[in-house]
């Protein structure tokens, strides 16, 4: 190459590429195409039907999640699941009153707290969980930094009483300079069985609190408490789930942790339609079982800066789906609402529909529960 400009071009490219530090990522064999995977429709009866999704964002990241409400086009194995399996919609005042009653009873009766338990354990996930996620079937790939985050942040800042299998941390994939891990959990909510009298005590405490309220308000809040307590009972009976964590590239970087009960996967095929910011980029990320080969997200105008609908199709890697939100306006309105797709379509390798979820604006969200 005699042209000095071309030589300079080559030198500049060489120099830049040589300086780049490429993190070593060992090869992990993906699920084999010939293997028969359990379709969601073929899963067993909907034993664990809790819709317990908790988004905990550590360090500097922000909280955000919402539950999808499905308009299932495919047969839904949880179509007849009890209503108690899913988080009931509650207004913030309702939730405050219900939680105040809980705190009142828990203060007087320690065994009514229902949140005690080991946060980090050496347990192993059930075969049901492992059969859904190929990432969890491989050898664990523990990360000291993640474990440190879990240990340091455990307690009320994380999910009190949740039970993470810390010897079963599996690296799933990298994205935006950070790494995603899957962590099976014996209990994702921290809810454990409490004596039957505890809930009766909570009802009594709430009734006392509402003694001077209007009859209509009293009836509405007590009905909300009944739904909430039924949901808590269901969580205590079906606590198993999977958590996913994203750990940023450097010390002090944000870490995201999101957990979903098995019911989430069985009903919707995903952990949750969670959105977050990874290394400053607004993304939609979630966890899907092996059966899901593509995830199509449709973002529409209305509540978003978009002028036209935008459809994105992404493939999961290591059971984790990551898609950049097209309008990229994370946090600009102080709201997560414009981050969410209008529909989420999951398909298998053959292109068959696994799940189609319509995300409705009035769905119950974590923020609807008091944040």
């Amino acid at each position: 190459m005699t042209d000095p400009f071309e030589a300079r071009l080559q030198r500049a490219l060489d120099h830049a590429a040589r300086q780049l530090e490429v993190p070593t990522i060992p090869w992990r064999e993906p699920a084999r195409s010939g293997r028969r995977r359990p379709r969601l429709e073929r899963l067993g009866p909907p034993a664990g039907a809790a819709v317990a999704v908790i988004v905990v964002v550590l360090a500097v990241a922000v909280i955000g999640h919402r539950h999808p409400v499905s308009g299932a086009a495919a047969p839904n194995p949880l179509a007849h699941a009890p209503a108690a399996a899913f988080q009931p919609p509650l207004t913030p005042p309702e939730l405050n009153l219900i939680l105040a009653a809980y705190r009142r009873v828990a203060a007087d009766h320690r065994d009514c707290r229902g949140l005690s338990g080991p946060e980090l354990t050496q347990g192993t996930p059930s075969s049901r969980v492992r059969s859904l996620f190929s990432t969890l079937r491989g050898p664990p790939t523990p990360d000291g930094r993640l474990r440190q985050v879990l240990e340091n942040e455990r307690g009320p800042a994380l999910i009190p009483g949740a039970e993470f299998y810390v010897n079963q941390i599996h690296r799933a994939r990298t994205a935006f300079g950070g790494t995603f891990y899957l962590i099976p959990a014996g209990n994702i909510t921290g809810q454990r069985g409490v004596p039957a009298r505890c809930q009766a005590e909570q009802v009594t405490a709430l009734k006392a609190r509402l003694a001077r309220a209007k009859a209509s308000v009293r009836a509405r809040v007590l009905a909300a408490q009944r739904r909430y307590l039924a949901y808590m009972r269901y969580l205590a009976l079906h606590p198993e789930g999977v958590c996913a964590a994203w750990l940023g590239p450097g010390v002090g970087n944000a870490a995201n942790l999101m957990c979903g009960a098995m019911a989430n996967f069985e009903r919707w095929g995903i952990m949750a339609d969670a959105s977050s910011a990874l290394n400053g980029t607004p993304v939609f990320w979630t966890v899907v079982p092996d059966v899901v080969s593509t995830v199509t997200l449709r973002f529409v105008p209305g509540g978003t800066p978009l002028r036209h609908p935008v459809t994105i199709t992404v493939r999961p890697l290591g059971n984790v789906v990551v898609a950049v939100v097209p309008h990229g306006r994370f946090g600009s309105r102080g709201s997560w609402a414009d981050q969410f797709p209008a529909t989420i379509v999951l398909r298998d390798r053959g292109g068959q529909l696994v799940r189609r979820t319509t995300v409705t604006p009035n769905m119950p969200t974590l923020c609807g529960f008091g944040c």
Partner: protein, 163 residues
């Protein structure tokens, strides 16, 4: 003579080992290529992991896995490059990752601003050392088009680079 099945090589395992070696050999360079094309290490890692998964699935059926990987990286990086937000961040990210002379940094900035196919031609030709035929296969065009793309890209770079 009966042969114990355990003595026979397991074709899947053998293929897996070969692929693992291929992955180890090619991963680093593929990430650098994707990084030069996308400007983001995170995106580059995503692109290469995705491409590697594609190669893995086709590994037994393809004659030239390296070329297949290159094509997959170029094509997947193109999807990434369509994201305007990433395009805007590219220059900053390139500079954040490595220390460059000011002149080189300017040149890389200009390369990053080239239309995607021109950028591919410049990166693969001057950094990757690919032949015109290889670039043409990756871009699914004729070698003549590669020449034309290279010519236009060089002309643009020469014009924009400060003497």
């Amino acid at each position: 003579m009966a042969v114990k099945s355990a003595q026979l090589p397991n074709p899947t395992e053998a293929a897996g080992k070969t692929f693992a070696a291929f992955y180890e050999r090619e991963y680093d360079r593929a990430v650098r290529l994707a990084w030069l094309l996308t400007g983001s290490l995170a995106a580059a890692e995503d692109v290469v992991q995705d491409a590697m998964t594609g190669v893995y699935r086709a590994f037994g059926r393809i004659d030239a896995p390296r070329a297949y990987l290159h094509r997959a990286v170029v094509n997947r990086a193109r999807s990434r490059a369509r994201d305007e937000r990433r395009q805007r961040e590219k220059v900053t990210m390139l500079e954040q990752r490595v220390r460059l002379d000011p002149g080189d940094a300017d040149l890389l900035t200009l390369i990053a601003r080239l239309p995607y196919r021109q950028r591919v031609v410049i990166v693969t030709r001057y950094w990757g050392g690919w032949s015109e035929q290889e670039i043409a296969r990756a871009l699914r065009c004729r070698p003549g088009t590669v020449k034309s793309l290279a010519s236009r890209a060089l002309a643009r770079l020469r014009t924009e680079v400060q003497p």
